[in-house]
Every structure is written in structure tokens, then in C-alpha cells.
């Protein structure tokens, strides 16, 4: 029997703020234990929470960027459960009036893992619908020793967004695409660094399988503890296989929470869902309700940055870039800014120049950066110089081949392209007399190619062209030398 998977995600995202959600302690990852704590985030007797406006704004902004409806009246609720990492033994969260409702994330082709981009589903622009986004406080971090556990409250009380999807995801690759799109959107808008390895983005997956075509859902399991987007893909794939095998072997899936072990590549049973939680939600009497229609939504709409998918579309529309180039250039906000900076500095036909810049960035720069273990911030090539180089090629001053050499030199030294061109004596030969002499030498030295050309083999012209350029030590203008060769051969 053929089975299909039904997957919903609960994504927790740390919101980037200076201070915590309900107190003034610094919101920072990696500080020495318990150095960012105060009576409020330690849940000392007598303290009260005061909500951080920036965290509310960033949650609203997230909602707007993901097409959510922003709830007009919202409130904070207390969610009660006892756990040592939770200072008050209730979490301030949002229950029935969250900040954002509905919305969705469209899965673009290049958000899928590379090896899955050819799959037709990657091109389907599937919309994964969201149920809600709410704001809450994060819990402390526990460290486990032989017989004890140690707790560091630095993370306790930092702002956390919870994004809940509909069970719209059907494969590990879609889960991957959803998370990478979300990760890009949030990090580009500076809402969160959303780094899974740092726990800034955490994802629980609810997975069930059912015979294809069946309407009723199967029993779901919740998978936790993935610390990368590709880890989520592996965990989901493992879990789908496990569930299908269990059912195929006549077994039953029981509702349970399972932990992913990335090293072992398996999920393990954490707990069964026998004892249902009773969170005893009620409106937090310490916190006043919120109205989003008194200017909050309006001001956030004005501050709404372009999302990666909006930018991708703009690149395709305005610069006629192909979908791959557009997606790579919009995948990182710094890269997009760099690309646009270079484009502004370059002269020539917009679309032609844009394509040339895209090629340089994608085919050369990203590789060079990777090889040098650098990021764009370390890059020595000023956008103006980069633009200048592209202009030189566009104006026919140097060949593309020469330009690549210059680009490598620019990357290494940060020098201006004109300086490098001069130093290397790289001026392209466009003088017809000089080109004719290289062309004649090439024709004389390669009678076989001449015969082939005259017999109609067009490829032979390229061979002759290559010879002529070689004779010119690479300085001959490739387009012009081709024209001169043709003229001589056809004469």
C-alpha cells in the first residue's frame, strides 16, 4: 500500500531585542551562567512583568510579512506547568487572543534542498498555511550531570515567538523548504538570527502517515531536538519511514513524543502522551491587554521590509534574471545589498550588466569567499570597483576571460580594476591591422581547420579564433577577431 505523510510544525523563534520580554536584563546568547538575571526573570516573590514593546512590534512585523491577520485585541495568558527551567512554574504566553492569525509561507524552488530542486513539487509554489503566531517568554537552559541538573536562567524570560502551521507539509523536503524560507525571512528583517544551531530557531514536528487517499489522519508523533534544517529533513524522513514500516508490519502508532538523535540518525521514545497536560490557561492579571489598531499595525506596515520572495520577483521582473540567479541573490540580505550596490556603480545596459554581475557573484565571488573562509563583510572588493570592472567588459575594453583574472586579483588585493589592467598590460587589442596579422598567422598555421571551415564545419572557426587569441597572448578582442577571421576566410 502507498502511504502519505501529514506534517505540521511548531516553530519557536527567539526575537532579537536588547532586553528580555518582561524585564530589563540583557537578551544575549552565550554569557556566563546566571549573569543576565534579576528578581523578575528569576521569579522571585513580589515581582511583576512589564512587556517589551519591541518584541510585540517584531511579532506584528513577522505576521505582516507572512500575510497574517493581526488580531485587533490581544492579551497575555498564564500557561501553568511545573518545570525547573520555568521560574514561575507558569509561562506567560498567549492562548485565545494571539497577535497573529492565519497567513502562510510559499515554498520557492530554491528553498528546497539542492538535490530535490528538480522534483516537480519544488516548482509548485506550494503555500504552507499558518494557524497562528504568538509571543511568549523562553525558559531557562538546563545542563544534565550524573545525578543532578544545573540551571542557567540567562535565557529565561527572553522573547520567543511561536509559529504554528497547518498540517500542510507532505515531505521532509517541504519541511526543509518551509524552514529555510522562514529562516531567511526572519533573519533578513532582523527579527531573529534564527540560527538553529544556537537554538534561536527550534522546531517540533508533528508527523503522521495514512494510506494515500484516506481522509482521516493517522496517529501523530511529535519529534523534538533537531538542531539544523537538514537535521529536520533527516528526522522527518526517518520518522515517516519508521511509521510506515510499523504499520506495514501490522503494528500501531501510539501518540508519543520522540527525540531525534542526529548522530545515530534515529528517533527515540521520550514520553507517551498518556497524561494529557492541563495547562490551566487564564488571562494574566499582571498584564494589560493590547490593541493593535491604535497605530501599531500601521507603523509596522510602513516599516515592513521587502521579503526575500518579493525581492526575488523584482530581480526577475526588472533585471530579467533567471529564477536561480534571483533566488541566490535574494537569499541573503547583505548579498542583495551588495548586488544592488554593484549594479548602481556599473554602466551599460541594465539587464546585460545585471546578468554579468550575477554571474560574477554566483560563479566567482561566492566560491572565492568560501575558499578563503570569509563572509561578504570581509570582502575587499568595493561595489564601485566591481561595477567598474563590469563596465570595462561591457565597453569591450577587456575580455571576459581577462576580467575573471582581474576579479581574482581584486579579491586578493582590493585594488581598483584599472590599476590591475594597467599593471598586467591587459588592454584588449581592437586595432584592425593588428588583429588581421594575428588572423593571418592563425590561418597559415592551421590549414586543416581552414579546410574544415570551408567544408561547412562552423566549430573550426572557434578553433582558429582560439589560435589567434593565443597568438595575441590573450589580448585580442574575441568578438572582433572572429569577424576579421570570417572576412579573410570568406574573401
Amino acid at each position: 500500500m502507498e502511504y502519505e505523510a501529514v506534517i505540521g510544525l511548531e516553530v519557536h523563534v527567539q526575537v532579537k531585542t536588547h532586553s528580555k520580554m518582561f524585564c530589563g536584563c540583557k537578551n544575549e546568547f552565550g554569557a556566563p551562567p546566571n549573569t543576565h538575571t534579576c528578581p523578575v526573570c528569576l521569579g522571585m516573590p513580589g515581582v511583576l512583568p512589564t512587556p517589551n514593546l519591541e518584541a510585540v512590534k517584531k511579532t506584528v512585523l513577522t505576521g505582516l510579512m507572512l500575510g497574517c491577520e493581526i488580531n485587533r485585541i490581544c492579551k497575555f495568558d498564564r500557561k501553568s506547568y511545573f518545570y525547573p527551567d520555568m521560574p514561575k512554574n507558569y509561562q506567560i504566553s498567549q492562548y485565545d487572543q494571539p497577535l497573529c492569525l492565519d497567513g502562510g509561507v510559499v515554498l520557492g524552488k530554491y528553498a528546497f534542498p539542492k538535490d530535490a530542486q528538480k522534483d516537480p513539487i519544488a516548482s509548485a509554489k506550494k503555500n504552507v498555511r499558518l494557524i497562528r503566531i504568538h509571543l511568549e517568554e523562553d525558559v531557562a537552559k538546563s545542563f544534565h550531570f550524573e545525578t543532578t541538573s544545573g540551571i542557567d536562567f540567562n535565557r529565561a524570560g527572553t522573547p520567543l515567538m511561536e509559529i504554528v502551521t497547518q498540517a500542510d507539509i507532505a515531505s521532509p523536503e517541504e519541511a526543509f523548504a518551509f524552514l529555510s524560507t522562514l529562516q531567511q525571512t526572519l533573519s533578513q528583517a532582523r527579527i531573529s538570527d534564527a540560527d538553529m544551531e544556537k537554538g534561536q530557531l527550534r522546531c517540533d514536528c508533528n508527523i503522521s502517515v495514512r494510506p494515500k487517499g484516506q481522509l482521516e489522519f493517522g496517529t501523530k508523533c511529535e519529534i523534538k531536538n533537531m538542531n539544523s534544517i537538514s537535521g529536520v529533513r533527516r528526522a522527518v524522513a526517518y520518522e515517516i519511514t519508521r511509521q510506515i514500516q510499523t504499520i506495514s508490519n501490522g503494528g500501531k502508532i501510539s501518540q508519543e513524543t520522540r527525540r531525534w538523535d542526529d548522530a545515530a540518525g534515529q528517533t527515540y521514545l521520550m514520553r507517551t502522551k498518556e497524561q494529557a497536560h492541563d495547562y490551566r490557561y487564564f488571562p494574566d492579571p499582571d498584564l494589560m491587554p493590547m490593541r493593535t489598531d491604535l497605530g501599531l499595525v500601521e507603523s509596522m506596515k510602513q516599516q515592513m521590509p521587502e521579503t526575500p520572495s518579493m525581492r526575488e520577483e523584482r530581480y526577475m521582473r526588472d533585471y530579467a534574471l533567471n529564477d536561480y540567479d534571483a533566488s541566490v541573490l535574494s537569499s541573503d540580505i547583505d548579498l542583495s545589498h551588495y548586488f544592488e550596490g554593484v549594479l548602481n556603480a556599473a554602466q551599460g545596459d541594465r539587464q546585460k550588466v545585471a546578468k554579468a554581475i550575477a554571474n560574477f557573484i554566483i560563479n566567482d565571488l561566492l566560491g572565492l569567499l568560501g575558499g578563503a573562509d570569509q563572509t561578504l563583510a570581509d570582502c575587499k572588493i568595493m561595489p564601485e570597483h566591481f561595477g567598474g570592472l563590469v563596465s570595462c567588459v561591457d565597453a569591450g575594453k577587456i575580455s571576459s576571460k581577462q576580467a575573471k583574472e582581474v576579479f581574482v586579483e581584486m579579491f586578493a588585493t582590493g585594488k581598483e580594476p584599472s590599476t590591475i589592467i594597467q599593471e598586467k598590460g591587459m588592454v584588449q587589442i581592437s586595432d584592425e591591422g593588428a588583429l588581421e596579422s594575428f588572423a593571418k598567422q592563425a590561418i597559415e598555421a592551421n590549414p586543416k581547420s581552414v579546410d574544415d571551415y570551408r567544408a561547412g564545419k562552423m566549430a573550426a572557426l572557434n578553433a582558429l579564433k582560439g589560435q589567434a587569441i593565443k597568438l595575441s597572448k590573450g589580448k585580442a578582442n574575441p568578438q572582433l577577431i572572429g569577424e576579421v577571421l570570417e572576412k579573410l576566410l570568406n574573401a
Binding site: 536584563c25 543576565h36 512587556p51
Partner: protein
């Protein structure tokens, strides 16, 4: 009311004597509280705050934290600036 069940939700161990005593005392209280069920509250808005004001926020400004020794001073058990508990099993 299942006193033992509710007490466990509240992480409260009780002796058998307490369970019996609370069971009868609380049923008396619930009986009194039950008067409320006679009232017609159809269409009445609930009051969560005595005088509700909307959008009372704090600006995102960092304030000094406690020195770590003050933060941990009242802890029953601590080591290496961590608060220590019996092992937490998830």
C-alpha cells in the same frame, strides 16, 4: 472534586487525612460558590482588570542585572554559578 488529582496538578503532596479533610471542607466552599450558577450572566463581559488600559509597554532598554552571587544567594543548592536540582529527566 478529585482532591488527589488536583493536588498533583498543583504539585502538592497530601496526607490521607488532609485529602479527607479538604474533600469535605472544599465541597462546602464549592456549595457556597455554586450560588453563582443561579445568576444569569448571558451577554455580560468578563472583568479581568479593575480598570483596563490598553498597550502599557516598556521600551526595549537594557537594565542592570543582579550580580550572580545575589541571584543565587537564596538557592538551596548551587555549583559553578548554576542552580542545582535533582536530575531532570525529560
Amino acid at each position: 472534586m478529585d482532591v488527589s488529582y488536583v493536588a498533583h496538578l498543583a504539585r502538592l503532596a497530601l496526607s490521607q487525612d488532609e485529602i479527607t479533610r479538604f474533600q469535605s471542607q472544599l465541597s462546602g466552599v464549592l456549595e457556597h460558590v455554586g450560588q453563582m450558577q443561579k445568576l444569569d450572566v448571558e451577554g455580560i463581559e468578563p472583568t479581568a482588570h479593575a480598570s483596563p488600559v490598553y498597550n502599557v509597554f516598556r521600551e526595549d532598554v537594557e537594565l542592570p542585572s543582579l550580580p550572580v552571587e545575589d541571584a543565587l544567594k537564596n538557592a538551596p543548592q548551587q555549583a559553578n554559578n548554576l542552580i542545582i536540582m535533582p536530575k531532570i529527566v525529560e
